[in-house]
């Protein structure tokens, strides 16, 4: 028996026959039950990334992408999910840039799509190939704001929100979760899009600083992460540094994710790589160019690329070595501190990646 009454036009357009795959993202009752049964004790939740992925990511889960695609995003956690060959995952995020290569690795099959690519670093051609080869199925189209409002509705503690975003566009015709309804308090016609509260199964949030209980301090754009942490059934905090709880209480003004959301805490310096980490390190821009321009060009190249960078590294430390080791680390810290206005300005010029001129060190 179907629990939810989805947008039928979207189901037809997306060719979704078994709607049960859609249920878990909007299954509030289960999310509430899971939250009620979570460990309440303030205890040391530290485990390794390998353990966290093995224990908390189940095949078929809806994974929420975090940060801003390649800004404070839990990409090393994505890589571990790939190494452990989790299957049939659904992925949502705004952006959801990282679904593409996770689909190639056979992990993500269902795509809740809002943005795929890497802005100025180039177009993602892999995503289309995954669609055409039947290795990735788009199950809902979104705008960034639409995903943000759905997660925010969950955090606010309400069944959904009425939005003016996505109205009258084809996005609504390709998203089974959305319904256009009349604003009930207006007498004149006033269409609005109902966006249900979204409850992902699992989220990895990479923080600059966390304590062993899971209080996590975020610096820079938080995007959807506070809402995503409140909504998701399982929450894994990964952090550049683990600090005493008192450091969070006294020194970390700003955005905190509270400890009782967290199921696990992972000390994971350089855990946002190959993305950037505000306050810590700048992007290896050439790495993204290589992914898009070389990896994106064919299945063969993507396979080689992932074999080298994901399956050929066992953790983020080996990844740093491959990017350029200490030389890369020093430059990446210098770049981010200058970009954020904490250090004196520097020259951001660099040589773009070219297939025929691999730099070896990826700034």
């Amino acid at each position: 028996m179907a629990i939810f009454d989805y947008n039928k036009e979207a189901l037809a357009n997306l060719k979704i026959e078994d709607t049960s795959i859609l249920d878990r993202l909007v299954d509030f009752e289960t999310a509430r039950k899971v939250h009620l049964s979570k460990e309440r004790a303030k205890k040391d939740k530290r485990i390794s990334l390998k353990e966290a992925v093995a224990e908390f990511v189940s095949d078929g889960d809806v994974v929420l992408d975090t940060g801003f695609g390649y800004v404070r995003t839990c990409i090393q956690s994505h890589f571990e999910i790939m190494r452990q060959k989790k299957k049939n995952l659904q992925m949502i995020g705004a952006p959801n840039t990282n679904q593409s290569y996770m689909s190639f690795a056979g992990c993500v099959y269902y795509s809740h799509s809002s943005y795929t690519g890497a802005e100025m670093r180039g177009t993602d051609k892999n995503y289309k190939r995954m669609m055409l080869q039947g290795r990735l199925k788009v199950v809902s189209e979104w705008s960034h704001g639409g995903v943000g409002q759905g997660l925010k509705a969950a955090q606010l503690g309400c069944p959904g929100v009425l939005s003016k975003q996505m109205l009258a566009s084809d996005i609504v015709k390709y998203n089974p979760y959305l319904k256009v309804i009349q604003n009930p308090i207006k007498q004149d016609p006033d269409p609005a899009v109902f966006i249900p509260a979204l409850y992902p199964d699992i989220v990895f949030i990479h923080a600059q600083v966390a304590d062993k209980y899971g209080n996590a301090w975020l610096y820079g754009p938080t995007v959807n992460d506070v809402a995503g942490a409140a909504a998701s059934k399982k929450v894994v905090i990964t952090a550049e540094e683990i600090v005493p709880e008192l450091d969070i209480r006294y020194n970390r003004k700003g955005t905190i994710i509270p400890f009782f959301y967290a199921d696990a805490v992972v000390e994971l310096p350089y855990g946002a790589l190959p993305g950037s980490m505000p306050g810590c390190y700048y992007w290896p821009r050439q790495w993204w160019e290589k992914l898009m321009r070389l990896g994106g060009s064919s299945d063969e190249n993507m396979g080689k690329f992932l074999d080298e960078w994901v399956f050929g590294t066992k953790d983020q430390i080996e990844f740093v070595e491959k990017l350029g080791g200490a030389k890369w680390m020093i430059e990446a810290r210098r770049q981010t501190k200058a970009a954020e206005g904490d250090n004196e300005d520097i020259d951001f010029a660099y040589q773009e990646y070219r297939v025929d001129n691999d730099p070896g060190i990826y700034y």
């Binding site: 809002s114 177009t123 189209e141």
Partner: protein, 262 residues
Amino acid sequence: MKNDAPANVLEILAYIIAAQIRDHSIVYVGTGLPMVAGILARNTHAPNVTMVYESGGQDPLPGDMPWSVGGPFTWRKSPMIQEMPYSFGQVYNGYVDIAFLGFAQVDMYGNVNTHMIGDDFHKPKARLTGSGGNNDLTSLAENMVIVGLQTPDKFPEKVDFITSVGHLTGGNSRKEAGLLGNGPIAVISQCGVFDFEPVTKRMRVKTLHPGMTFEVAQACTGFELLKPEGEIPMTPMPSPEVISILRTKVDPRGVFTSFPPA
């Protein structure tokens, strides 16, 4: 780049976009040319403009050219960084005056496609980025300006996927569909500046760039362009001073304004 070389097409576009920005306004910008234009406006006629980005950064201190809307230069020492849904909420609530966005296709009513090329969603000829914040801004912004290169494929009569609603099917259809703001007020391309005829809301030539004729602009378009009454004015071109500011202060490495692009 030599500072006395004539302006290239991207520099001209940046200047024309910048000209749409009024001083003391709040501007929502995406990466690329709109960002260059915002910074150019701030360095010329609009020193008090406030810039807002979809990753939540707003009102940053001046710095280098960001390659991502999430990059540090979009929130460099920002007094606050908004969560993403709140950033779009500011647009809904009337705190943003104008937004600039790109496209893969734009049609005669200013509807924008950044999703896919082709007629089968499941077997696209090209799969593009999807909406990102494009739809959110287009749905909510008081004034929208659409920026990009013009070819008949990129200016079709009907876009392959409506990512973002412009004037929908013309007339009052945008408002009746429940969307906010004035919708697209201008389209800026290498041919000229276009507006939308007030009654039908069909795309109309407003000004043409130097050397451009209506016929050439029409040949670059997949639908019938409307022609304004009388002679079509020429788009004002940047002065050497403005080009010099663009090349020395705004985008000195030509990240977004070298032509051909780096």
